[in-house]
Assembly symmetry: C2
Homo-oligomer: 246 residues x 2
Amino acid sequence: MRNLKIYIAYDGSCYHGWQRQENNITVQQVIEDTLLRILGERVTAHGCSRTDAGVHAREFCMTVRTDNPIPCPGLVRAMNGQLPDDIAVKSCEDAPEDFHARFSSKGKEYVYIINTAPVRDVFANRHALHYPHPLDVPRLDAAAKLYVGERDLAAFCRAESLAQHKTTVRTVYSAGMERCGDRVTFTVSGSGFLHHTVRIMVGTLLWINEGKISEDNITKAFAAGDRELLGVTAPPDGLYLNKVLY
Amino acid sequence: MRNLKIYIAYDGSCYHGWQRQENNITVQQVIEDTLLRILGERVTAHGCSRTDAGVHAREFCMTVRTDNPIPCPGLVRAMNGQLPDDIAVKSCEDAPEDFHARFSSKGKEYVYIINTAPVRDVFANRHALHYPHPLDVPRLDAAAKLYVGERDLAAFCRAESLAQHKTTVRTVYSAGMERCGDRVTFTVSGSGFLHHTVRIMVGTLLWINEGKISEDNITKAFAAGDRELLGVTAPPDGLYLNKVLY
């Protein structure tokens, strides 16, 4: 049986995240329904990650098992011909039998985009957080470095989702913030993240920027596992799954 | 009576153009309804141009007459607070009594964005034309220069709209095409354009690129006024009103 490794990109604005749900439209459902029409069989698309509603992906990896002999370039063309404009297949290849989009992953990189221009960018609507305030990027870049290392991320998790994680310890490989004109980008990579982790990391940096909490709260939150020490959960609009590491 | 000169930007994806219509939502309607809530009176927003359904504007100028003493910065803030995310007010100032967004204009600049990457950009969905084919930009840039000058644009007009134009002669100030990576931009400025002119200019360049017609057709079309000599009307998604000249 073939094991197809497929990379897609999607604008998550109109989807309730990746994972199939009972009553909401999700990227997984659209992908699997498209594959049903092309392959003539219902297959499961195993994604590298769940993403939240409204979160985007520049490079999302999924694996699909099938006996269908369709050549990879033909499958890419057929999928791009049938998928809606906000989902695109970037590549497809036959992967080794034991490769799995999620379990083979060594980590992920996310970016979060903040637009600091006084007036919102109507063309980046739902693709960035509009934050028309002074932003002390060097200070927040330094604060972001506190995220790096082997960390207990319990405080950086949506409370309702804590129970679903067997362990809350992850390794954050790198984190930083940089400015390019009005556009500020927070980039973080790590072995894995809990539910809402990156959005809480961003919201915490914004609260530090606003003087509502201090950098010490980050260190304290790692030790105490207390969500209350941190900032708001930033909205999903600015968040992109940028890369999966294998 | 005050004469307010207001610059806005909008993502036209969800609107049936600028001009108020009976049964479709338009940018003018949203602007005037917003101004009604803020000023407490129904005013007319005189736009610099009609734009087609789906066409965008980076800098669209409009004039509004009112006796309301609201300071300009306050009006900008109030409008941005109430407008949907795909329309933004960039600036507002008191203009001389005789200034009119449309009649005072000396011309307009449009850009048309073409994405030539093999796979569509899911984040530029409805903001560019996806054209995953070789594009001979130096050749088309040379062809675009044929548009420049005092021209009878009758052939470059939607047939059903010809009658509404008193004269079809306009002066095209500049035209050209340039590439930046996968992104190709056609830019044209002129004293004015007829209905669909810029989209027909773009479609004509694409047909020249595909060998369906030759550069000579442009010259012949100016002389004969024959729409049949030209290429398709390119879709609205890639078109932006970039600047109004006063």
